[in-house]
């Protein structure tokens, strides 16, 4: 270290002297501080800060040293310099201002804060410290600013005040602080971790705790004393022996204290108590003796994505907008459009353990044009597929799929909307032989109509229809919310316009009445939405939001169709998300499969409570790191889920995944 010119026994202990790039203003009641770390005990004598000011009015500068707590200035001054009147000229570029303390300050190892202030100044902005935008190697400590004369501090993120601390190392012990603080544990918890066992304690005051633990049960020795000839209960001695000491995980002093044990086997009882320090000094308090028997093994929480089980390419040429449906037993069907926009349906076997294959059967149900197909079960082995057919008309077909996966010929075909630009049809069963199709129709308006399909697959004429949005109704996703009451989530007003949900009534005879209620849940929606039932009257809507990011919204929809404002939101992908597909996992947990950044396929799990509050993300996994677009996810069995999606090279892919669920 370099010697200070003015004294042979002092040297530069620490500081930041290079990288002068920016001003950090301060003044009257606005103070600044720079934290610095000492590796061992030092006597400090002089500090210097590079600063400037733009007023010729005389004023007084003062430096102070303070304790820190979690890297932030804390409490009152530990030492202060005298008020030094600055020079009466304007110094815009800044100069090094050094001041001496009236006596040597014994600074122990750890982090300290150098506070800079001009309490007699008239304005809070006429002074500034010069600051660097990077820390030199080996130097730590953040810069802080207080706008209330040092009561509370806010970090100056990304900048560090130029400063110097001069002094000399010492081996003298650090004197204890005058005020000794006690603490008490107010609460404690314990839980297994995947490879360890964790104990957490909450105290009323900040402290740094050490756990003393043993396997030997403590003994109690009640003691009596004789007073005036009478035996009086006096005290109790506790024998706590053969203990090992473990330090808390959190650095510095804290309110929460975590202890993690990697060697605590199941069915072992340990006894422990805590002692503590505050600002590195021992405190007189101690905790009671805890007794803890470890019962539990670690169990992955619901929503944990365990592994990718199997994958199968069901169309090696091209497949987009696939929809995966369960047929019977281990037989599933995928309807999709191929590279020529033809409509296809394939059946495939998915075992309960997630093993995929073989492919069972395939049928090109529309060799001319079969875009965006959506299938629903009619009865026994009869299925109906609604899609965008030739000329962009809305078409519905029926066909049979046997329980063994054999696909029969098309039974019947009917054009349900003979006008171009029918897109995104969703066909659902209403009652008896009545079915409804929600779709985007001419002018990109939102439509819903009803028609009948009998058990033999004969498709009747349209019974009723309703235009649920005259402006725009893109990508409608319907869900049954009450007896004959349906909610439709869709994109309204423009391509990246508002996300809206509307409710309507569809009677058993196919008569449509609406709207009952409507609600805008997102000002900007950049993806087709996926609405799903969470719990009670709470529903979730996963979609794309501003900048194409992934957003999840919750709201309530009563069984009469009344819609509440949004309850909670969560940005499940801050980069990019499209085409979400959601399945429930049980225990208020849900999985969202979607096309994420760089067209990769992503899967995230999250919890939603009974009130609609969205909890923290449970887990995430990339189900296809190359391409995973337009996923359609389904529960197979137990913890096994399947996703059909448009994968690498736009080929059709199936993937099974193990997710911890309670289904």
């Amino acid at each position: 270290m370099a010697k200070v010119p003015g004294g042979p026994d002092t040297e530069l202990i620490t500081g930041i002297t290079n990288g002068d790039v920016v001003n950090v203003t301060f003044g009257a009641w606005v103070w600044v501080a720079q934290c610095f770390t000492l590796p061992s005990t030092h006597l400090s004598w002089r500090v210097a800060v590079k600063l400037g000011y733009n007023s010729v009015t005389p004023r007084h500068l003062q430096y102070a040293i303070r304790y820190t707590l979690a890297g932030k200035p804390d409490g009152a001054d530990m030492a202060t310099t005298e008020m030094l009147q600055a020079r009466g000229d304007v110094i815009p570029a800044g100069v090094w201002y050094a001041q001496n303390f009236p006596e040597w300050n014994n600074l122990g190892p750890g982090e300290w804060a150098l506070v800079v202030r001009v309490p007699l100044a008239a304005v809070p902005w006429a002074w500034w410290c010069r600051a660097a935008d990077a820390l030199p190697p080996g130097i730590t400590g953040k810069a802080w600013k207080s706008t209330n004369s040092g009561v509370t501090w806010t970090e100056i993120s990304g900048y560090y005040l130029l400063h110097q601390v001069w002094g000399t190392p010492t081996l003298d012990p650090v004197p204890p602080p005058e005020v000794v603080s006690n603490w008490a544990p107010l609460d404690w918890t314990h839980e297994p971790l995947p490879t360890a066992y964790q104990v957490q304690v909450e105290t009323d005051a900040v402290a740094h705790l050490y756990m003393r633990h043993t396997l030997i049960p403590p003994r109690k020795h009640p003691i009596e004393r004789f007073r005036r000839g009478l035996a009086m209960p006096w005290n109790t001695y506790y024998c706590f022996v053969a203990w090992t000491e473990t330090e808390q995980e959190e650095p510095g002093d804290s309110l929460e204290h975590t202890f993690i044990f990697y060697d605590w086997p199941v069915c072992e009882t340990r006894y422990f108590y805590f002692i503590g320090t505050k600002r590195l000094y021992p405190t007189p308090s101690a905790s009671p003796i805890f007794e803890l028997h470890r019962y539990e093994e670690w169990v992955d929480p619901t929503g944990t994505i365990v592994r990718l089980i199997d994958s199968l390419e069901f169309d090696p040429i091209m497949a987009t907008v696939p929809q995966l449906s369960h047929i019977d037993g281990n037989v599933y069907a995928v309807v999709y459009q191929d590279g020529y926009n033809d409509g296809w349906v394939r059946t495939v076997k998915i075992d309960e353990d997630g093993t995929l294959g073989p492919l069972l059967d395939a049928l090109e149900f529309d060799p001319l044009y079969g875009r965006m197909p959506h299938m629903t079960h009619v009865t026994v082995d009869m299925y109906a597929i609604a899609y965008t057919g030739p000329s962009g008309y809305g078409i519905v077909k029926t066909l049979t799929i046997a329980n063994n996966g054999t696909i029969g010929p098309v039974a019947d075909t009917r054009t349900f909307h003979a006008a171009a630009t029918v897109t995104d049809p969703r066909i659902v069963h209403i009652a008896g032989t009545v079915y409804a199709i929600f779709y985007t129709g001419p002018g990109n308006d939102g439509y819903v109509l009803t028609l009948s399909i009998d058990f033999a697959g004969n498709i009747g004429p349209v019974i009723d229809y309703w235009e649920f949005d005259f402006v725009l109704g893109l990508g409608p996703d319907p869900i049954l919310v009450g007896p004959n009451i349906w909610a439709i989530a869709y994109r309204a007003s423009s391509i990246s316009g508002a996300g809206k949900v509307t409710t309507c009534r569809i009677d058993d005879d196919g008569v449509i009445t609406g709207p009952i209620d409507s609600q805008v849940y997102a000002a900007t929606q950049t993806s087709v939405p996926c609405i799903f039932h969470a719990t009670g009257t709470v529903y979730g809507i996963a979609t794309g939001g501003p900048d194409g990011d992934g957003w999840l919204y919750t709201l309530t929809i009563s069984d009469m169709g009344a819609i509440s404002p949004v309850i909670d939101t969560w940005e499940y992908d801050p980069v990019d998300a499209d085409d979400p597909s959601v399945v429930a996992l049980g225990d208020h947990t849900y999985a969202i499969a979607y096309r994420g950044p760089a067209f990769d396929g992503w899967l995230r799990t999250v919890t939603i409570n009974d009130s609609g509050g969205i909890g923290a993300e449970v887990d995430n996994e990339e189900y296809d790191p190359t391409r995973g677009a337009q996923p359609s996810m389904l529960h197979v069995s137990g913890n096994v889920f399947a996703i059909a999606y448009s994968g690498p090279d736009y080929d059709g892919w199936l993937r099974t995944i193990e997710i911890v669920s309670n289904l």
Binding site: R219, P222, G229, C239, P284, E291
Partner: protein, 109 residues
């Protein structure tokens, strides 16, 4: 305090109730001024402990049931209450100062 050759009769002792305190110390009859609380007239060292006691009293009511159970279990089968254990732990700890006396029975009295 003064030593007496013998204790007065019970009627005399009762007559001085609140004024004089008669008692036996190691079999020696004694009399002293009736004990009374000094109130707030305490030494600076004692007064310095008041905030700690006040804080301990306040914190005891803030314990969660799980934490209270730990104090209760520690006080079980002893001559202390859970509040005693809490207060002693908070003020100076229950274990850190203790050195078993020589010849102390291992299984307790």
């Amino acid at each position: 305090m003064a030593k007496l050759t013998r204790l007065p009769s019970l009627a005399i002792i009762d007559g001085y109730k609140g004024v004089l305190d008669f008692y036996l110390c190691m079999g020696v009859p004694c009399v002293r001024k009736w004990p009374s609380s000094p109130g707030k007239n305490r030494s600076a060292a004692v007064q310095a402990q008041w905030p700690v006691f006040a804080t301990a009293a306040r914190l005891y009511s803030q314990l969660t049931p799980a934490m209270w159970q730990v104090y209760f279990d520690m006080a079980k089968d002893t001559n202390l209450t859970a509040r005693d254990v809490f207060t002693k732990s908070y003020i100076k700890g229950m274990l850190t100062w203790y050195v078993p006396p020589e010849g102390f029975p291992e299984n307790g009295p």
